[in-house]
Amino acid sequence: MKAFPTNARRLRRAAGEWSLAWLLISPAAALFAAFAFYPLGKAMYLSLYETSPFGGKDIYVGLDQWQRVMQDDAFRKSLWVTGKFVLLTVPAGMVLGLALALLSNQRLMGITIFRTIFSSTIASSVAIAAVTWALVLNPQNGILNYVLKELGFRPISWLTDPQWALFAVALTTVWISIGFTTIVILAALQGLPRELYESAQVDGAGRIRTFASITLPLLSPALFFVGVVSTISALQTFGQIDVLTRGGPLGETRVAVYAIYEDAFRHQDVGTACVESIVLFAVIASLTILQFRAVGRRVFYQ
């Protein structure tokens, strides 16, 4: 009998805590529901319908739409281009970031100036990068072609030659990412324990061996992080392509996100765009899981 009031009080207090907890998470929950989960469901729904260009009636076409999109060469190509783009940008960005971070980790006079310079592309954005690189890459009087010509090479139509366009966009993308990768890797480098290096020196290990057997393993969490973030942002690349090539020439720079944008907002074909976006989602999700499975476990955590 006696326990009852305390129980009730405890219950009441617990109920108060529960409702407070729910209150605290509700803003985020509402936003996720509205802008992440609802759209996911809606995309799946829309992927089964053919929408008319000016609104109005949607026609149910079911899995026929999926079949059509999966067999569409242009979409398949866009997945392939996306993959190529990731391979062109992520490793190059990581190597460059690592190199610049190692350089700016040297104890030299004025090194902080160089550190600031290397991190400065973080202040840039895709639009700024694309507009400035359009200047660099201009086929008629851009600096790159000028240098090529002076060196006796043929000038290249960077943004309109199907062999070079994706490379040119990748160049721009790697350039923007320099700031981020350098900052992250440099921060990790500065956090490495000095003692290990001292003992390595005592052991008489050379520079290269020290780097390979101590620095690189210790850097692996940072490198992994940079790799994951760069991969995700490469998969989402849009702005540079919108400004520089609009997916051309011959679809060579039409990455999956651009294909989705083009189908939804240029061809007014929302159903197709939704199928494409779900496929891309599946690809990204399985890649992420793979990345964590394959690399994540081998990363050396301190």
Binding site: E50, S52, P53, F54, G55, N138, P139, Q140, N141, K149, P155, S157, L159, T160, D161, P162, R246, G248, P249, L250, G251, F265, R266, H267, Q268
Partner: protein, 475 residues
């Protein structure tokens, strides 16, 4: 020359009178309908309206460079005259960007602009949307005189006998060249090539080779299906079936023809031999023009829209040191004697938002922008042709021609172009996809060596598929 111009004037006037007599605006006895017959007489007349309270309207446009500055000035003039109407002039990127944005926000929603400037090829799509106020409604109510309009431009935007949108800026592809380079090569700059054969002969003299490498090309072009369309019109050939979609809804393209093939072959062979410098897909980009000023290669002639003419002369004015004497010539015809030209460009549309004050304010702006005085100023300050002949007699245009005779050529070209189905432009729904298909085909041909026959066939089947899907969706 004088007599020919006079004749053209008279002829234009005659056509207009005849057309108005039919209560439509088409060129035939009665423009054929593609869907339900909708003639002006069956439509409820638009009620008179007095704009009393202030209105703010958005005007979406796609003008860049010198043309943007010129348009801003025109809108400023309008504001001075109509203090009750506030116009937000908003640049929306290219025509396609602007159209996509319109569809995305909902064509007649509250986010839609009161006036939107859209490219000629969107005419059928905009008409199919049924979400615009036909310009004919205002024209009929206010007895707005279309008589002095350039007939081809007016007829382009006339669908099922109704003027759908107001022609605003007309342009055509032309040749830009440096007269000094012509003289240096022993050519007469006053007699530019008018067909492909003449062009080839002139190019032999203009090209510079070092060994077997071409160091100066003859003509720089970007890749756009617009040039292809114009080359067809030059030959009097159709782009889509059912008389370019004017005698019934087009259900297939017609460009896979001997005329189309001739253009594609010229393009591919030209790039192969170095006669053509391909600057690639370069929408609104100046790369072809930049090739003219590149002393270290480049090309002697650039093929570009006349819309850039103002920017070019302004640019050269600011750079006298370049030693360029800018000259222009009409687009050469694939076959000798071809004079046709599609007088497209863009027109002004009024989305049917149902907000009467907004629609009426929009009409005030549109009718202002298409008046003779404003069109004269527009022609004189932008690279565009006026949409009406009576603008040509006005002072700003006369001054322009005195200073830059290059502009006069543009008007001469219109006067010589016959007004036929081929030159009124093609009506079809998915014009953007059809253009995309052609551009891909041209790229495949120029960059991957696909045969012109194969490339055209591929473009044809892609385009027909797009047309089929579109027609199914709207019918």
């Amino acid at each position: 020359m004088r007599t020919r111009m006079l004749l053209a004037h008279l002829f234009a006037g005659f056509v207009v009178v005849a057309a108005i007599g039919c209560g439509g605006g088409g060129t035939g006895p009665q423009a054929t309908s593609t869907g339900a017959p909708a003639t002006a007489t069956q439509r409820p007349a638009r009620k008179p309206f007095d704009l009393t309270s202030p209105v703010t309207i958005d005007f979406w446009h796609s003008m860049g460079g010198a043309n943007a500055t010129a348009l801003e000035a025109l809108v400023k003039d309008f504001q001075a005259r109509e203090p009750n109407i506030h116009v937000n002039l908003v640049y929306q990127g290219g025509y396609t960007d602007s159209f996509n944005k319109l569809v995305a926000v909902g064509m007649n929603s509250k986010d839609a602009p009161a006036v939107i400037q859209l490219e000629d090829v969107l005419t059928q799509t905009m008409t199919d949307s049924k979400k615009t106020v036909p310009m004919q409604d205002f024209v009929d109510r206010d007895r707005f005189d279309l008589g002095k309009f350039v007939p081809q431009a007016r007829d382009y935007y006339t669908v099922d006998g109704l003027l759908r949108s107001m022609p605003f800026n007309v342009s055509s592809p032309i040749l830009y060249y440096n007269a000094n380079a012509f003289r240096a090569a022993g050519l007469d700059p006053a007699n530019p090539p008018t067909d492909f054969d003449q062009l080839a002969r002139a190019c032999e003299k203009l090209m510079v080779r070092k060994g077997d490498q071409v160091t100066r090309h003859c003509i720089a072009t970007d890749i756009t299906s617009w040039y292809f369309e114009q080359f067809l019109a030059k030959q009097g050939a159709l782009y889509v079936n059912h008389a370019n979609g004017r005698d019934g809804r087009a259900d297939a393209v017609a460009f896979n023809s001997p005329e189309g093939l001739k253009v594609m072959r010229w393009w591919q062979e030209g790039v192969k031999s170095g006669l053509i410098l391909n600057v690639g897909r370069n929408p609104a980009g100046p790369d072809a023009l930049l090739a003219l000023v590149n002393p270290d290669g480049g090309a002697a002639i650039a093929l570009q829209s006349s819309a850039n003419l103002r920017s070019v002369v302004d640019f050269l004015e600011a750079n006298k040191g370049l030693n360029i004497d800018p000259a222009t010539a009409p687009l050469p015809s694939p076959t000798p004697g071809g004079k046709g030209i599609v007088l497209g460009g863009a027109s002004l549309w009024i989305p049917a938002t149902g907000d009467t004050p907004r629609e009426e304010a929009a009409w005030k702006l549109v009718s202002f922008l298409s008046s003779a005085e404003v069109q004269a100023k527009w022609h004189a300050t932008s690279g565009y042709l006026p949409v009406r002949f009576d603008s040509l007699d006005l002072q700003p245009v006369q001054d322009l021609y005195k200073k830059y005779p290059q502009f006069r050529l543009l008007v001469d070209e219109i006067r010589q172009s016959p007004n036929t189905r081929a030159t009124q432009g093609a009506l079809m729904g998915p014009s953007q996809q059809v253009r995309d298909a052609l551009v891909s085909a041209i790229e495949e041909m120029l960059l991957r060596g696909t045969s012109p026959e194969q490339a055209l066939k591929q473009a044809e089947s892609q385009a027909n598929e797009a047309i089929k899907r579109y027609n199914r969706a709207v019918e």
